[in-house]
Structure formats: structure tokens, C-alpha cells
Amino acid sequence: MSDRRVLQTEQISGHPGPVPGMGTQRDLEVCKLIDTTTCIGCKACEVACVEWNDMPFQPTMFDNTYQTMPETNWNYWNLIKFNEHVREDGALMWLMRKDQCMHCADPGCLDACPADGAIVKYANGIVDFQQENCIGCEFCVSGCPFNIPRFNKETKKVYKCTLCSDRVGQGLEPACIKSCPTGCLHFGTKEDMKFLAENRARQLREVSGFKDAGVYDPAGVGGTHVIYVLHDAEHPELYGGLPKNPKVSFAYKAWKSVFKPLGLIGATLGFVGVVFHYVFEGPKREQPEVPPRKPEGPAGRKEA
């Protein structure tokens, strides 16, 4: 989606009343919709991701499943997680879930990051790592409820899916969307994708017999800019460990914003304390010290 808002009038000099056309711009927030119910596990999106982001192909690992490798990597941001699931009625299901950064509205990685400018969130909802500012502390890894950021031991930088912010900034869809042959991947505004997803979930519930089908857009992280349609929204952990209620850790919320500055002020009170002690009580000198000077009487003056 192109950035048409750039040239939209915001203020007009000497103009009475509201700016014409204000607020007519459509929702700027983008969203990727992944319909796991129509994914066939072809891995076209994995290849497209590696290709567009110009990352080297690496050996895959065959473990007797339909999964390319055990986990995503610093140069492999997008992986179809494959899980076999036996339903209560005995039916076997192959669950394919495209695993990548969820682009949370309330990103835990960004909260955890101590480096100035290493993680940015754009107005359109994309959360992007700026490797030139990354200090390699890996706090983002512990801050992420989805276990997404991956550390490169050689460059000491952390990498993850950018939601193709470079393409999106030019009005293009992400590379994975472009490559999907079944149309299980969609890209558009958050509002549109939610609408599409809810419709599809209703269809699954009412027509296809998946009575627990639903949309995965977890509120614990303020919603995400990558949302799923799941056959069984009650048990997202079946899909390769998607957390049911992801949350940003206390350590990166209250501690960082409130207790850290307060703690520092508390520690600095030690300095204030000793300064006050020196001024009001004075030092403890070796004894016997020179006695304080006596007030001079008339006799003393005579002698001088």
C-alpha cells in the first residue's frame, strides 16, 4: 500500500474551520491474513522470502515430516510448521501454519530492547529491526511471546521477518503473499483482513463443520498485524506452539518504565545523603583534633 497520506493536507494557513478531506484517508494499518485451513504446505512462501530478502539458501533437514527445518533462523524468517493432530472423532489432520513475526501492536521485543533505534514500529503496524543500531544483547528474544527473533552469532545482530517493509513502502504486497498459489495468504488493511477472516471462520463453523473455527488476533499483545484463521481457535498451541494468550513480560513493562527510573533516583539518594551528612554533621576526624577556636575576649586582644 502506497503512502498516499504523505500528500494529504493536514494544516492550512489562515484557513477558518476544519481542513477539507480530513479523516477521509482509509485505515493505514496493514495486515497479513494466513488462512491455515487452505494452506497446502507447498513452501512457495519460504522460497519467496529467502529470495526477496536475498538470503543464501541453506541445507534443509528432512525429519520425516513436511517441515523444511526444525526452526526459523537468522536467515530463514518464514517456516511452515507442520503438525499431525488426531481429533477426538479419530480423524487425522495435517496442520500447516506459516510461522513468522506477528508484528504485534504492542511489541514485546521493542519493550525489551535497550538500544536506541534498534527496533522501530511504523504507523502501518510493521515492527522492524534496524541492525545498524542493534547491540546484540538478545533481550528482544526474551521479550517476544512468539519466540521469533533470531541471533546471528557472527554479526552479533538479531534478525526477523520485516513484513517486507521495503515492498510495502512502495505499495507492493509482501513477497510471501505474491507467491502463494492457493490464496491462503492475503494482505490489506487490518480492518479488511479482519472482515475477511471472520467471514471465513463463520463459513468454517457453519458450512464445513469446524465448530471451534476462529480468528487468531491475540488481545494480550494489543492484536497483531499477522492474523490466522484456525480450524480450532480454542487450541492454538496445536499449531506448532502458538501461544493461547501471549503477553509481554512484567520485566519489560512496569519494571522498565516505572521502577527503573525510580530505582536510579533511590540509588542516587546515597549521594544526596553523604553530601547532606558532610554539610550538616561534618567529618569524623582523628582524635585528638585541634579544638574549636575560643571566642576572643578583650584579654586576648591585648596580647596580640
Binding site: 546484540g136 520485566a251 540509588a267 546515597g270 567529618p283
Partner: protein
């Protein structure tokens, strides 16, 4: 000289006697050996390096300007754990070195109970049962021992990171590491103050290794008794009398020669 040092530190690597020396002048007592002083400044330097690199990571909002001094934020992050390890290593050696003299006693509990009086300088000299270290010094020592253990465990967890120990362990470590640093930062102000402005004549114990006898009977009376075999209060009283006798003698002299008599 060597024997009196031997009474403080019995087990000390012999090489440190060659690296430096402790000259005890007239009216002084040896307090810290070369080895102890070396360790003190080694972990002192490590502490401040770790503190300033840590600040840049702790609150970049305020302290990002510390990072360029260490070669930029990424290098700061790379160096911080090594400074921390240096601190824990050298302080660990000092803890072994001081384990005996730092043992907590009844006198230290009494000292802590009377802390407000000491803060008010109610008595110009320390209580007679205060040995080489007083209760406050010992409390700070043991706080740093505990702090070092916390630093080491939580630091290694954060260093290895979430892939090894899990996100929860890192998040908890992060808080404990910060608290430990804040407590130590709070304490270091008192340490710096008491060794310089707060108790003049103290810092030479860690530079030249000696203190004056007057310092010893004022701030560590029981240690003075142990070092000299004399009673600290009596010694102080004798010094008082000696000084007033001297004053009187000078006064008498100036009276007999008259004003300006010193010029002749």
C-alpha cells in the same frame, strides 16, 4: 615491618612483596598489604567500568552518551560482561582474603543498632570493641558478596540468553541484576565518602597501606589494641596530655622571650 603485615594477612602470594612495598613511618600502623591494595583497585576499576557500560544499557534514555566512550553501543554491550566477570573475580579473591576479619560478631550487631548515633558523630571515637572493620563496613562487604553471586548467576543467564535458559529466566534475571546494581550503587557513595571526606586520613590505607596511630585509636580501637598491645583510650588520653603540655611549653616560651622574640 614484614612481621606486622603478617599479622593482618597471613596468606598472601609472595610475588606481591616484590611488586610493591609498604613503608610504615613513625606514628603509623600497617593496615593493608600490597596484595589487598592490588585487589581493591583491580575490582574498583572493574566496578566503575561495569557501572558505566551498564548505565548505557540500563537507561539509554539518559545515559546513551556513555556508550561512545566504550566504542559504541554494540561494543559496550560486548565489554560489559567481561568487566563484570573481572569485578566478580577480583572481589572473589578479596572475599577469600577478608573472610576471617569480616566475620560478623556481637560487636557488629551493637554497632548497627547504634548507627544513628554514629551518623550524628555523637562520640568522636568509635566504641572500644570495634576491630579492624566496623559493623557498617562488614555489612557492606557481605552485601557485595551476595551481590556478586547475584551478578554472576543472573549475568550468565542473560549472557547465554533466552535460547539457553528460557525467556522467563532472562526476564527475572534482568530485574535481579538491576536491583543488585542499584543497591551497590547506593552503597558506593557511602564507601567513597567515608574513605575520603567523611573520615580524613582513611584513603592512605588503600594507597600507601598505612594509617596513623591516631586514626587507628579513633576509628578501630580494638584493632589498635591488637596491633600495638596498648589501650586505645589510654593512648588517646596520653596524646591529649602530650599536646596540652606542648601548648603550655610554647606559651611559656613565648612569654619569656616576649613579642617578636622568635626573630632573635
Amino acid at each position: 615491618m614484614a612481621t606486622s603485615i603478617g599479622r593482618i594477612q597471613e596468606k598472601e602470594p609472595a610475588i606481591f612483596d616484590k611488586l610493591g612495598r609498604t613503608v610504615v613511618h613513625e606514628g603509623e600502623l600497617p593496615r593493608h598489604s600490597v596484595y589487598t591494595r592490588f585487589l581493591h583497585w583491580a575490582y574498583g576499576i572493574c566496578f566503575f567500568l561495569a557501572l558505566f557500560t551498564g548505565f548505557a544499557i540500563y537507561l539509554p534514555f539518559l545515559f546513551r552518551w556513555f556508550a561512545p566512550a566504550f566504542g559504541g553501543p554494540a561494543t559496550t554491550r560486548m565489554l560489559h560482561p567481561w568487566f563484570g566477570l573481572g569485578f566478580v573475580f577480583f572481589f572473589g579473591l578479596q572475599a577469600i582474603n577478608w573472610w576471617g576479619p569480616m566475620k560478623w560478631t556481637e560487636a557488629d550487631s551493637r554497632w548497627i543498632r547504634h548507627l544513628p548515633e554514629f551518623l550524628r558523630n555523637a562520640d568522636p571515637v568509635e566504641p572500644e570493641d570495634v576491630g579492624m572493620y566496623n559493623g557498617g563496613q562488614k555489612a557492606q562487604f557481605w552485601e557485595i558478596v551476595v551481590g556478586c553471586v547475584v551478578y554472576l548467576i543472573t549475568g550468565i543467564i542473560m549472557w547465554a540468553g533466552a535460547p539457553t535458559f528460557g525467556a522467563m529466566a532472562v526476564a527475572v534475571s534482568y530485574i535481579l541484576h538491576d536491583i543488585s546494581a542499584l543497591v551497590m550503587l547506593f552503597g558506593i557513595f557511602f564507601h567513597l565518602y567515608q574513605s575520603t571526606f567523611g573520615q580524613p586520613g582513611t584513603i592512605q590505607a588503600m594507597t600507601r597501606g598505612t594509617v596513623s596511630e591516631a586514626w587507628a585509636w579513633t576509628h578501630a580501637p580494638a584493632w589498635y589494641r591488637q596491633m600495638t598491645g596498648r589501650d586505645p583510650r589510654q593512648a588517646l588520653e596520653q596524646e591529649r596530655q602530650r599536646r596540652s603540655a606542648r601548648e603550655r611549653a610554647i606559651e611559656q616560651l613565648s612569654r619569656s622571650t616576649g613579642p617578636g622574640g622568635g626573630k632573635t
